[in-house]
């Protein structure tokens, strides 16, 4: 069961819709340990993605190109801290699936592994530093495990989303070592990282859309 180009394109619409719904929730997560703007920034960035994708020629079928277009538009016009991070992540993800018009289970894992790598590279982030990486990294681990165990795509995706959720939630008890919240020391503890939360929304919307489960917009 391979995932076609159209599903991936649709995923970006679903991400945007989910982010719009969670805009204020993400701003509010950013208030106690940041500057209250994460929902704005991330929503605006994925609006730019949508615009860029909508400009692709209708015959375009290269998923790598699609992801790289998304990444480029976030890098160039996203701004904030999340811009270079999401942007680089999608660029790197696009590179590993370059030329593919549909994604196998292997491709999907490679894609997210590259995505995680992009964040780590751009943000110098490691696990446990209270960033979006803490959502993505455990998800990639779960994906790799499912792949090795030969699990079904739908199970694989469900478990990946769960791992991402647990990853996001794990940031609550962490001391921040990256980004704006890293200046708070002990005071950063006790709050979910906004970037970890937006990453969870991105991951879930993306993955659920692939599954043809419909929009998958919740929260």
């Amino acid at each position: 069961m391979a995932i076609p180009f159209e599903r991936v394109r649709l995923a970006f619409s679903q991400i945007l819709e989910a982010l719009e719904k969670n805009r204020q929730y993400l701003n509010d997560l950013d208030a106690p340990i940041g500057d209250s703007d994460h929902g704005e920034s991330v929503t605006n960035a994925f609006r730019k993605v949508k615009e860029a994708i909508d400009k692709l020629p209708p015959e375009e079928r290269d998923i790598g190109k699609l992801l790289q277009e998304a990444g480029k538009s976030i890098i160039f016009s996203g701004g904030a801290a999340m811009g270079p991070l999401y942007g680089t992540a999608f660029m790197d993800a696009g590179k590993v699936v370059s030329g593919k018009t549909e994604l196998t289970r292997e491709d999907l894992v490679a894609l997210w592994e590259a995505f995680a790598g992009g964040i780590a590279r751009r943000g110098q982030a490691k696990v446990g530093e209270k960033t979006m990486y803490d959502t993505i990294y455990p998800m990639v681990e779960a994906l790799k495990k499912s792949l090795a165990e030969g699990k079904d795509l739908s199970i694989m995706i469900e478990e990946a989303i769960e791992a991402a959720r647990r990853g996001m939630e794990s940031t609550k008890d962490m001391l921040s070592l990256r980004g704006r919240s890293s200046r708070l020391g002990e005071r950063s503890i006790g709050h979910i990282d906004p970037g970890a939360a937006s990453s969870f929304i991105v991951v879930r919307s993306f993955m659920e859309t692939l599954l043809e489960k419909g929009g998958g917009v919740r929260e």
């Binding site: 340990i33 500057d35 209250s36 704005e40 920034s41 701004g79 904030a80 890293s182 200046r183 005071r187």
Partner: protein, 332 residues
């Protein structure tokens, strides 16, 4: 929401439109991006200076465009670093053949976006250096200075490198002196009232009727600790002593003092607080070389102020004394 705006999503765009009309004699906007540049940019034979960051800090950043200050500002959304493209366009617009210096606050968003733009411009053969401001002593202990955020001290950097560029200095020299100015600069702020985020109409932080936050960032980020309101003298002493100890500033030093209002704190209060700063510096036998008091780097209508000290040397003195003609920062 008690704010005079139209649709929240248009705040930055409409502000820029007003700004460009009002200051058309001094600057222009690039046709493609949210970048404002000095009217006569690029200035041949002068290193270009690009700064930028989120909006909501007016007069920073765009109020510092002008002769003797910065050449271009890449404008971000409210409290959001400008995206790479804007910084990149800004660099290209002000390169007068001697390269470009980027001045930015130490925020991961700014560091990443400016950094990527710098790489792009360098790849096209434009020499680009950057100086990153990290003057806020509250934002990390001294052994993690590279993690400290930049606050009002960035004004000092603009003044210094802006003057140096007009003198015809080269890029290496500007980076060297700018870095020294930043190293010699330490700040600490206090706030008692949040700003209202235009997007949501919500306050940037919650705070009690008799509380204040010491070491707050100028996007409303929390600081070192929450305390009960104090008198002007008490709070000024609390923050000034920490600033002095951090460098440390020492007996015999000469300093520039910058008292920066964060938004709604009145000049009346700032002068009362400055009076105490002056007493404390006198007690430490630290001499005031220049003084700036006003709103230089705000957080919209946040209530509070910060104290910035910069240790002077002969070169920094000359540069601080040089005239400049920014939109909101003018010196004869």
């Amino acid at each position: 929401m008690k704010k005079f705006i139209n649709r929240p999503e248009n705040v930055v765009e409409e502000m820029l439109e007003g700004f460009v009309i009002a200051n058309a004699g001094k600057l222009r906007r690039l046709p493609t991006e949210r970048v404002l540049v000095r009217k006569d940019a690029p200035v041949k034979g002068k290193v270009g200076i690009v700064t930028g960051g989120g909006s909501g800090h007016k007069p920073a950043f765009i109020g510092y465009i002008g002769k003797g200050l910065v050449d271009a500002v890449a404008v971000g959304d409210i409290f959001a670093a400008p995206p790479v493209q804007r910084v990149y366009e800004a660099i290209k617009a002000v390169d007068g053949g001697k390269g470009v210096l980027l001045c930015l606050g130490n925020y991961s968003g700014d560091v990443m976006n400016f950094g990527m733009a710098q790489e792009l411009a360098q790849a096209e053969g434009i020499p680009v250096e950057s100086v990153i401001v990290n003057d806020d002593v509250a934002s990390s202990p001294k052994d993690r200075m590279d993690n400290r955020r930049g606050v009002a001290g960035e004004v000092i950097l603009w003044k210094v490198v802006g003057a140096l560029a007009e003198e015809g200095a080269d890029l290496a020299k500007m980076k060297e002196v700018g870095t020294r100015a930043v190293f010699n600069t330490r700040s600490l702020g206090v706030a008692h009232t949040p700003c209202i985020m235009p997007s949501s109409g919500k306050p940037s932080f919650e705070i009690g009727d008799n509380e204040m936050e010491i070491g707050v960032g100028h996007h409303g980020e929390p600081g070192i600790k929450r305390m009960s309101m104090m008198s002007a003298d008490e709070v000024t002493e609390l923050i000034t002593l920490q600033v002095i100890e951090d460098l440390p500033f020492q007996s015999g030093d000469e300093v520039t003092v910058l008292i920066n209002g964060l938004g709604s704190t009145s000049l009346l209060e700032m002068y009362i607080c400055f009076r105490k700063v002056a007493q404390i510096l006198a007690d430490h036998s630290i001499k005031i070389y220049r003084t700036y008091i006003g709103e230089f780097f705000t957080s919209m209508e946040m209530g509070g102020f910060s104290v910035t000290l910069t240790k002077m040397d002969d070169e920094l003195k000359r540069l601080m004394d040089a005239p400049c003609d920014g939109v909101h920062f003018i010196q004869h």
